[in-house]
């Protein structure tokens, strides 16, 4: 069971479900430590005062916000704690939405909520919420305060458990207006081109099977470490040349279709 990151309650109308939050993502990355190349000794990071040029212990460090005019405002931990939102231990469900209406661009980090009390009432309330959301394909929206930050959170059912995903706020998602998406009339594909492109996509159609896709980077990195340990030299692979855009799209589509079917 992953480590609990937060404990509190999920509040749904007047029903309170004690829950704890665990990450739904495991870190599978290889981690490296910084070493001094010359002697192989680990490097330690120390915090030094820029003015006095001395090391500063943790308890003497505070936060400062840089103002536009170059000045700064010092803000203490206590002051930050004082403006932490109320009810920090409750996720209040404010509304339910259709999961299909929420574009994945808003999703940040996924977690699971697990029942945090042993009593039957807790287990039943948890199961009730899971079942109702699963039956309706609805997701709940509420706010979560964790580590002094307030998050918009979406709670939904996944695999019989409640999944909570922190969400970006609307002003953290950029407008698509400024993206050059070739919307001019001149770029509009002809019905024939579109039909051929649809055929290519359908010919390359596949079931979404997440287990099929492996993290090749992680595997290669593990091999690099293994080979290096055995004293081998590591070569940097060559860069493939990028193809040029086809002067005649229709011709490229037809050749692709011929290749796929042939």
């Amino acid at each position: 069971m992953p480590r609990s990151l937060w404990t509190g309650s999920l509040s749904f109308g007047l029903v309170n479900v004690p829950v704890s939050l665990v990450s739904a993502v495991r870190d599978r990355d290889l981690h490296f430590r910084q070493l001094h190349e010359k002697d192989g000794a680990p490097i330690e990071v120390q915090r030094w005062c820029e003015k006095e040029d001395v090391e500063v212990p943790w308890e003497e460090i505070t936060h400062a916000y840089e103002l536009e005019d170059g000045g700064q405002v010092i803000v203490s931990d206590l002051e930050l704690q004082a403006i932490e939102p109320r009810k920090t231990r409750t996720i209040d469900i404010e509304q339910f939405v259709d999961l299909a209406d929420v574009d994945p661009i808003y999703f940040d980090h996924p977690y699971f909520l697990v029942p945090a009390a042993e009593d039957d009432g807790t287990k039943r309330a948890y199961q009730l919420l899971t079942e109702v959301m699963s039956q309706t394909d609805r997701a709940a929206l509420g706010t979560l305060v964790m580590r002094t930050k307030e998050y918009l959170a979406l709670v939904r059912e996944r695999g019989g458990a409640l999944m909570l995903t922190t969400m970006l706020f609307a002003d953290e998602v950029r407008a698509t207006k400024s993206v050059d998406a070739a919307t001019g009339k001149a770029y509009k594909p002809s019905p024939k081109q579109l039909a051929a492109a649809v055929s290519v996509i359908e010919a390359l159609g596949a079931e979404w099977d997440p287990d099929k896709h492996k993290d090749r980077y992680r595997d290669r990195l593990r091999r690099v470490v293994d080979r290096k340990r055995k004293g081998a030299t590591i070569e940097v692979p060559e860069r493939k040349k990028e193809p040029e855009p086809a002067p005649d799209l229709m011709e490229a589509l037809e050749r692709t279709l011929a290749e796929i079917s042939g």
């Binding site: 430590r33 030094w48 400062a64 994945p104 590591i234 692979p237 990028e242």
Partner: protein, 259 residues
């Protein structure tokens, strides 16, 4: 105009689509510098060699992979970068899946794609064909010396690229051992909960939510910048509820008034 962070080519079959990657999201949380409380001056981080007790310049830093017994395999940054594969600026879409089948948990970061040089017609063709088929193209993308699985799909008139989480990075909900109650929720409770969900149902409107914590932090900074003391808010008590059916009933009665 959005600034591009990567230029390259997407291919599907023999069709090449030159694109530029733009960021689609930005972190708006309030960031602070670390300062020394005594004199308000900036804290800088120094890399110190634990053997010599001396500062180490960046070019003398290597990466160590820890083996059992506290030994390290020493690697140069270029050797680690080699694991990214060939650093071609190429995303080959190998297969197309139904976008609706992808559970949102797999989506990690999102970027917008802009049409690259001489690629407007190919860009539009890929966009329109994906939209028509409701599919997302899957490929690999090497970015910042790391290879990602990516899904490319139409979003609000543009092509969006999502980096994807790998299945083995996700916690299996079965492994959580969610306890089952001795008595499952009754039909009546499920019905009442369903009604409560309905009464609170709204169309998703991302603009309806604001980061009120961020707003409070910025407000406090503003107050302090003008030389005033920030006011401290009060804390509210929470209430507990034990009777599930009664709580649901009470919620249904009060849900409209509450909003």
């Amino acid at each position: 105009m959005a600034r591009s962070i990567w230029n390259g080519t997407i291919t599907f079959g023999l069709i090449a689509v030159p694109i530029k990657v733009n960021s689609a999201t930005e972190d708006k949380s309030v960031h602070f510098h670390q300062v020394h409380a005594a004199d308000g001056s900036r804290i800088k981080q120094k890399r110190i060699c634990s053997m010599e007790n001396k500062e180490v310049p960046y070019k003398e830093v290597a990466k160590g992979y820890e083996l059992r017994g506290g030994k390290y395999v020493l690697l140069e940054q270029e050797e680690i970068d080699a694991a990214a594969g060939d650093s071609s600026h190429l995303i080959e879409l190998e297969e197309f899946v139904c976008a609706a089948e992808i559970d949102p948990v797999f989506y990690d970061r999102t970027y917008y794609l802009a049409a690259g040089k001489d690629g407007g017609d190919a860009y539009r063709l890929l966009h329109d064909a994906l939209q028509k088929t409701d599919r997302a193209g899957l490929g690999r993308w090497v970015f910042h010396n790391r290879e990602y699985l990516v899904a490319i799909r139409p979003l609000d008139g543009v092509l969006a690229l999502h980096t994807m989480r790998f299945a083995d990075e996700l916690v299996d909900p079965d492994s959580l051992d969610i306890p089952t109650p001795s008595r499952a929720p009754s039909k009546r409770e499920i019905e009442m909960a369903g009604k409560l969900v309905e009464s609170l149902h709204e169309r998703f409107d991302p603009d309806a939510f604001h980061d009120s914590y961020r707003e409070r932090v910025l407000q406090m900074i503003e107050t302090k910048a003008s030389g005033k003391e920030p006011a401290l808010p009060e804390v509210e008590e929470e209430q507990d509820s034990t009777d599930l059916a009664a709580a649901l009933e009470a919620s249904l009665g009060g849900s409209r008034r509450k909003r």
